[in-house]
Subunit: 368 residues, 2 copies
Amino acid sequence: MATQADNSSPKKEAHKEGASRFRVTVVGSGNWGSVAVKLIASNTLHQSIFHDEVRMWVFEEVLPSGQKLTDTINRTNENVKYLPGIKLGKNVVADPDLENAVKEANMLVFVTPHQFMEGICKRLIGKIKPDAEAISLIKGMEVKKEGPCLISKLITDMLGINCCVLMGANIANEIALEKFSEATVGYRHSKEVAQRWARLVSTSYFLVSPVQDVEGVELCGTLKNVVAIAAGLVDGLDMGNNTKAAIMRIGLREMRALSKLLFSSVKDTTFFESCGVADLITTCLGGRNRRVAEAFARNGGKRSFDELEAELLQGQKLQGVSTAREVYEVLRHRGWQASFPLFTTVHEISIGKLPPSAIVEYSNSSAQ
Amino acid sequence: MATQADNSSPKKEAHKEGASRFRVTVVGSGNWGSVAVKLIASNTLHQSIFHDEVRMWVFEEVLPSGQKLTDTINRTNENVKYLPGIKLGKNVVADPDLENAVKEANMLVFVTPHQFMEGICKRLIGKIKPDAEAISLIKGMEVKKEGPCLISKLITDMLGINCCVLMGANIANEIALEKFSEATVGYRHSKEVAQRWARLVSTSYFLVSPVQDVEGVELCGTLKNVVAIAAGLVDGLDMGNNTKAAIMRIGLREMRALSKLLFSSVKDTTFFESCGVADLITTCLGGRNRRVAEAFARNGGKRSFDELEAELLQGQKLQGVSTAREVYEVLRHRGWQASFPLFTTVHEISIGKLPPSAIVEYSNSSAQ
């Protein structure tokens, strides 16, 4: 078990110069984006198929010191605002100009809050290389009555390029500290492209497996937040590990069942991957959705999620409650509520229609 | 979601008298056995297909008060030694005579420590009804070089009767307090028989799903203990939820892969049931295997599992370490070690061949 991933050869081959190499740009520079840049920059230095330089589009901010965030990153190799104390790599270039950042890239990594993606894509139309490949690291999406707005589909539709996704049990700060973790790349057609993405981000402590199921992988990253609300309610009710495990299992079953109903190509085995069961475990053990839901149940549902979110999260946003509402609309629109008792109940608890204790009142007639 | 299980009709039908009804005997009276008796006794009272009385074979003990355990159970309706404070039901009869306890039963529930089962079966040969059906609630089994000694198979081979299994995320004391939980019945051929077992044990807070995969369901209950050792090591190394989720996921993958290699009939979907992912979560969050492994890692592997077990568990036994050793022998015997890095590493850590930190040093070449 001491084997290293094959991408950790210490020196880049000499013949690399002159060959056609993939140029990588990361669009986004928050906490998870900065960790992704660190992983990628450590690989592009040593693998001849990639150009050394990794360009990172940074939404420019002026720091309290009066300096610009991009200047500080380029001087210190650190994202002092969103990932302080971690060196990103000397081959990382922060760029505040979106168009300039992407213009030479043939590998585009998107990692921004999901609500910004439509605007970013609009700005990128006609500005990227036609042969570029994309990957989305964005967890969470809007779910409309007609179905979920997959970010990978948004990118493909607006920019006319292929888009993979990377999801998994990934707490950014733990990976920044090089603690062992895994992730899943979901792809549609080309395994070769997925394997290239895996090579770009894998390290000895970050193992990436490609799975041909882009919808299944991407939906996991959104639906798990609804289950985390349920798990937090169980914590707040002091029900114990037995009940929590049952609720997590039922949640995973409903994630799987809903994904398969929405996209017939979704595979059962995807939910055994890091994006499925592992991300669910991480999110239900820690995470802000779980935390606020625990507080909600401890207060007997008397203080709203909005109020507790404002108090506990200092400006960070909770996704589970809005996703639960959106999923509920889909279920109602299609007449599927009876098959998804957990998803339905999470929403009904969140709006005060049911008490928190309803989360453990199940019938046997739920989704298979 | 307010629907109740259909077995909770308040009054047993009058026409029941005279009809041929199933008589139930529970062989075993420990903590989990007593909880099973409570679940069963609440159902036999109200469902006309079952005879009211539930007989429980109790290995006779003399209590510190000088009274016999069976007499006390029959007088107080409580197993004062193994499940104090919980009423089992007035229709429960404790019987110290094994042959007498089983002679009229056509539903036999086995719930003893696994190492006693061979001896019990020997005593039962020729003493049970030929049309009896059995179910095993026994988690854990010996794994010989040639493969695992399934308790369900031992019962079928020695007694010539069909045997289902019941496994799941089941902490006995939490179910005794009627906290919401689930379980899985694994069956070989007859779904009708499995559904009868489900009716016998299901309540509004204990949901049971039948699955046609007796080997898969039963193996989960044993192999999860090896994964719990791995999870405990991660806890002791303070690696965080990310790493723990990854290790649990890899463990579940190896449980699934090994079960399928050993029994080609094993189904992937079994591992989504309570016996699979839910029991794994419960066992890796709490449980004695996890606890002792955490202490082992905190001591840097310098104090043996035997020593820590004696210190921490007050006479209770750890199963994960012996199962890991037995599984290792199977893997070595068949040349499968490279495909099962987690199982292999748990054993090599437990014998001091590798340090506890080896649990997170993985290659990408593991089991699919």
